[in-house]
Subunit: 434 residues, 2 copies
């Protein structure tokens, strides 16, 4: 294929992102041709409902009633998969397209999280592009930064705010003192959360994205099964208040970190210092730190979703393919393995609800000492005759497993009256507090 050949694409899925891709390609033909070195043309599209008005002009573009037929269509060089879902049409289409020697661009994080290892291998075997800038952190070119921009680095960690819905909810809880349910309802009313929000607020969406980043940084193979995932449902307004009192904000973070045992992957609500760059990231914005051994910590911030921002990433992939810039789908160097989460070591926020009587503090601290968990800060509130009081602690660095065991022992104490709350403390930017 010469530089002057038109790149012909087929777009499967015409939701918000698909419609934006069509619109931008049509409106910016000249600019994109200049950047790509050749014209990019939409040869065919496909969606469930042909009659729906999407505010885009589809005249002169072939309509595929069945998206999967695009994989066979000789008029298509690149299949753009925007159908979504980790099985069914999306999976079949991507597999068939790669097998038939077509390049693929996808925004489908679920698909890659579950089947990425297989697809990366298939793309490699067939010498085709499988590009997915749009699958992580919307329009921020984070895949390109990780795979190309930091090519001189061994990566030690990739982590950040990967889900805009959760960050919106946490921002509203913090800013306006809302409880989780109220903030969620507001997010739904304002279009930041789906009617069924579980995919976002349970951390699954962030875990999909983390799996992809982790594969690029470390393993070459997305390994969703090894992501320890905890969502927002247990984050309460009181913990946001105590965090603020201690100088922290609560953020849902996806974290993939290289430990001596292997790569640990987790999605969980975490406390970050209020002066850190991640604390300053508010609303539906995404923010990702990449730590390289040569470059140090680097941070990337921008819109995590939205039709135009995501389409921007899809089209950047198309321009790359048109220009012949096709790095391997997975990592260039696939050396590391994922390991269970217990290998994490870090600091923790613990909140216990305890009886307000003499000796309780001694019991609690004895349990922690026995599990080799030591304290950095303690907040204790007497409440003037209340039967139970909150006891808030931040630990020094401790092993995940040690803290889990200590919490089980604490929960068994008579004086401890509710299930203890635990949040991880993360210090972004590579500066570890002592």
């Amino acid at each position: 294929m010469t530089e002057n050949t038109t790149l012909k694409i087929g777009i499967a899925g015409l939701g918000t992102v698909g419609a934006s891709v069509v619109k931008i390609i049509q409106e910016e033909q000249e600019m994109l041709a200049a950047r790509a070195g050749r014209a990019i043309k939409i040869a065919a599209v496909s969606a469930r409902d042909k009659s729906r008005d999407r505010g885009i002009d589809l005249s002169g573009i072939a309509w595929a009633d069945n998206a999967e037929t695009m994989a066979e269509n000789p008029d298509i060089d690149v299949v753009v998969e925007l159908v979504g879902g980790s099985e069914g049409t999306a999976k079949n289409l991507v597999m068939q397209a790669l097998q038939n020697g077509k390049d693929v661009v996808t925004a489908n994080k679920a698909l890659l999280a579950h089947h990425g290892a297989e697809f990366f291998a298939l793309a490699k075997k067939n010498g085709r592009a499988l590009a997915f800038e749009a699958a992580v952190a919307g329009g921020i070119p984070i895949i390109k930064a990780l795979r190309e921009g930091l090519a001189a680095n061994h990566i030690s960690a990739v982590y950040g705010i990967l889900n805009g819905t959760c960050n919106y909810i946490l921002t509203e809880m913090w800013r306006n003192g809302l409880d989780f349910e109220t903030a969620l309802q507001q997010a739904q009313e304002e279009g930041y959360a789906e009617v069924d929000p579980s995919f976002d607020i349970d951390g699954v969406d962030a875990a999909h994205k983390l799996t992809i980043l982790s594969a690029l940084a470390f393993t070459g193979r997305p390994d969703f099964a090894h992501v320890e995932t905890e969502g927002l449902r247990n984050v309460s307004a009181v913990d946001i208040d105590y965090a603020a009192e201690l100088g922290y904000r609560i953020k849902l973070l996806g974290i993939a970190r290289l430990t001596p045992d292997g790569v640990v992957q987790t999605v969980a609500p975490c406390m970050v210092p209020e002066e850190s760059n991640l604390a300053a990231v508010e609303g539906a914005t995404n923010a990702v730190f990449i730590e390289g051994d040569r470059v140090g910590p680097t941070l990337y911030v921008g819109a995590g979703a939205g039709g135009n921002a995501t389409a921007s990433a899809v089209i950047a992939d198309l321009v790359d393919i048109a220009r012949g810039n096709v790095p391997p789908s997975g990592a260039f160097v696939e050396t590391e393995k994922t390991v269970p989460f217990d290998s994490r070591e870090g600091r923790f926020y613990l909140r216990l609800t305890v009886e307000d009587r003499i000796g309780v503090m001694a019991d609690v601290t004895a349990v922690l000492r026995d599990h080799k968990v030591s304290m950095k800060s303690i907040l204790q509130y007497g409440q003037g005759g209340a039967k139970s009081v909150p006891l808030i602690m931040i630990t020094h660095k401790a092993k995940e497993a040690a803290v889990r065991d200590a919490l089980a022992a604490l929960a068994a104490l008579d004086a401890v009256q509710e299930k203890p709350c635990v949040l991880r403390v993360e210090i972004p930017g590579g500066t570890e507090e002592i």
Copy 2:
């Protein structure tokens, strides 16, 4: 040249960055070969002093007594120019190398700011790479983000903290209440500022980098002559205090923004809201916002200098060249022109020192009204019998030229006792306050 051919490079300049490049290429041969698709080998090096111990092993590498001979050396595919300076050896070497059909990687912002237009054209004519990721914001892959990652966007603005020395000084002034001279001295003692610091603190270094970003975003041709440059020397501790009182921090920003008249380029101390991402960037870190029409505002943060971080960017360019990913040096689309700075419109912080008597406020506000400059906030301090008091104002949006004229008229008032201080107010992230 096939994929399996070794990429042979010549490195001119073995300062901190050059030595880091040598070291990383030697230590990471296997990783880099995997990422580049072929081996990267150092064929020759050159520096002023052959005998100096740089902590690197140069055995088996040819030594060029005269760096410029590398441009003629048939054993070299890519010349890495780390000599520095906008004239002399650096300029001759880059020009000769491109003319002789070699690719060039450089970290030399001064060279590109002054001669980039000529070199971009030369690289294009000869079909060679001229890569310069290391020239702006150290290890942050900002050139790649701007040119490749956001290829689907028209850029409306590129701006940020481009000089680590200045940001270190401003951070120390703010955090520890130091005056400028003391903070500068501390920066020199700690190695963040040169013995002759003028290049950094007068904003020249930031202006060089801004010129390059502006060329990529808008014009295709670095145009250093049209950067309005103001350094840190006039930033006083009292302005940092008043800024804090009004909810702002002072940062030295480089700003290239598309206006209806063309591209306005400026480097100046600016006030940014304390809750903004740029306010959270402390010490010697760099941070750059790119605003695209589709993706919205995106932010990139990381080390702006240092041997390893800068070497990381140099090597990323080498890997790109090895892989054949060679975008044009300048912008893909060269549509805009730079225009004089007067076209800027924005908000301003004004500090006057005025006589403490009745009628002064009326005189001052009348002058501003006559120049169509309206006030958003005013702070006035009576100082119990002091002859002069500070009068601090933040304007609504106003034209640069109108404010300059108003300031001249204010300075001419009898009651105004010192040269008025003016700082620009910038609201990062595309959210314009009303």
